[in-house]
């Protein structure tokens, strides 16, 4: 049994929150360059160029890439041979969020109740998903999820008869309705199969795959490429000003499902795709 103290977890989460908001990951920066190479729209190229400058400025000044520093979503892989000591795992993650957002001059964007809408002041709580895995590892993946794009995320329960064509049409429809509101170029995380909640969770988890990397399943990879091509033919473009770069990527995760069901969840993510992970 390996012991990991909660203070190590809080420290790690604090750093992840600050780094994620200040420094876009290399996969995002490469996506901007790839898009600049093929975008035909002058307005689109200008947006992409400014966003690259924005990333550089945020990193060097240690200020957030986007003022919406998001709700923290944490996916944790907890080895079954790990003993968390000194307190609770969830409390430790939230303590890390509290410290990261306060000390990092990140925006507090969370209200304590959907109805009274009083700001909690420190961006807690996070949304935390824990998978128990074999071994003695503790892996923490953090995403600072913006609200504008999250508001355009969608779910549908299709019939098995709707099949693959129905899934494709729904995903393209999601890109259209997201439009400029969700800050394109977008990244779509898609969960297909499972149940209502499994599809939704998978749509978030899918976003952690490195942007531009192939889906390990060849059939899904081909589907992602087909849908990305279609999304970029819509003409929405960077910021919706018109152009060829409406989406940077579409990531799909599937799960077995009931004979009656074909659930599809689409998380819409903006170009401020802030994600970091650490293995303790």
């Amino acid at each position: 049994m390996r012991a990991i103290h909660v203070s190590a977890i809080a420290d790690a989460v604090k750093k992840l929150c600050m780094d994620a908001n200040w420094s876009l990951e290399p996969d995002m920066l490469r996506a901007f360059d790839r898009a600049l190479g093929r975008e035909r729209s002058e307005a689109g190229k200008q947006v992409l160029t400014i966003l690259k400058q924005n990333a550089e400025l945020a990193r060097t000044r240690q200020i957030p890439y986007c003022q919406d520093t998001g709700m923290v979503i944490a996916f944790v892989e907890l080895g079954q041979d790990v003993h968390v000591t000194g307190g609770g795992l969830y409390d430790a993650i939230n303590e890390g969020v509290r410290q990261g957002y306060t000390e990092g001059y990140l925006r507090a964007s969370i209200v304590r109740s959907p109805f009274d809408r009083v700001n909690t002041g420190d961006n807690t709580p996070a949304v935390i998903h824990v998978d128990v895995v074999p071994g003695a590892i503790l892996k923490i993946m953090v995403m600072a999820k913006g609200g504008g794009c999250e508001n355009r995320s969608k779910y549908v329960m299709l019939t098995p008869a709707a099949g693959l064509p129905g899934v494709k049409e729904f995903i393209i429809e999601c890109v259209k309705t997201a439009g400029p509101d969700a800050c394109p170029p977008l990244i779509l995380g898609v969960g297909i199969g499972g149940t209502f909640e499994k599809a939704a969770i998978n749509s978030k988890k899918a976003l952690f795959r490195e942007l531009g990397s192939p889906n390990p399943d060849a059939t899904l990879n081909a589907l992602e490429q087909e849908l990305l091509e279609r999304a970029n033919r819509l003409g929405i473009g960077p910021q919706g000003y018109g152009g060829d770069t409406t989406a940077f990527g579409i990531h799909i995760l599937t799960y077995p499902c009931h004979i009656t069901s074909l659930p599809v969840a689409v998380t819409i993510e903006c170009h401020a795709h802030r994600h970091k992970e650490v293995m303790l």
Binding site: A43, I50, N119, G147, G148, A231, L234, G235
Partner: protein, 186 residues
Amino acid sequence: MSIKDLRTPLSDADVLSLKAGDRVRISGVIYTARDAAHGRLAPLVDKGQTLPIDVKGQIIYYTGPSPARPGEVIGSVGPTTASRMDKFTPALLALGLKGTIGKGYRGQPVKDALKQHKAVYFGSIGGAGAVLSEFVKKAEIVAYEDLGTEAIRRLEVEGFPAIVLYDCHGGDLYQEGQKVYARENA
């Protein structure tokens, strides 16, 4: 493409000269307000009471900035989705508000009110909050401090870059820009 320099407060002539797709640089005072602040302004407008800011000729920027580091003017300060404020916008335009800055589509009632009251909807680049912070020279809270990031702030800006999304003549950059690049079989 040429860039038009604008200084607030805006006149009818300023607004009439702007066309969807025009790039502008805004200088002078603008006010921030988003969901919660609009929620507080709305009942005052309904009852004909005085607002904490005089909106006549002014521009409201839909944003909730991140906190400033010590010694800095403001944190990151990009636009939020404007359509959430649609419910409140026509009444503010009727009071003389001349511009809003945000991102994303807006509803037909807002488009109609822009025409009726001669006003304009500007876009700033969503997610470019770090770059946009460089154009803010001064920031102070003028109302609803308890709302934190959602308080109304008075910003002094110099050359703040924006683009005309909807003009007062019915022009719509989103429609015009996207149809150029939309391809068959999408």
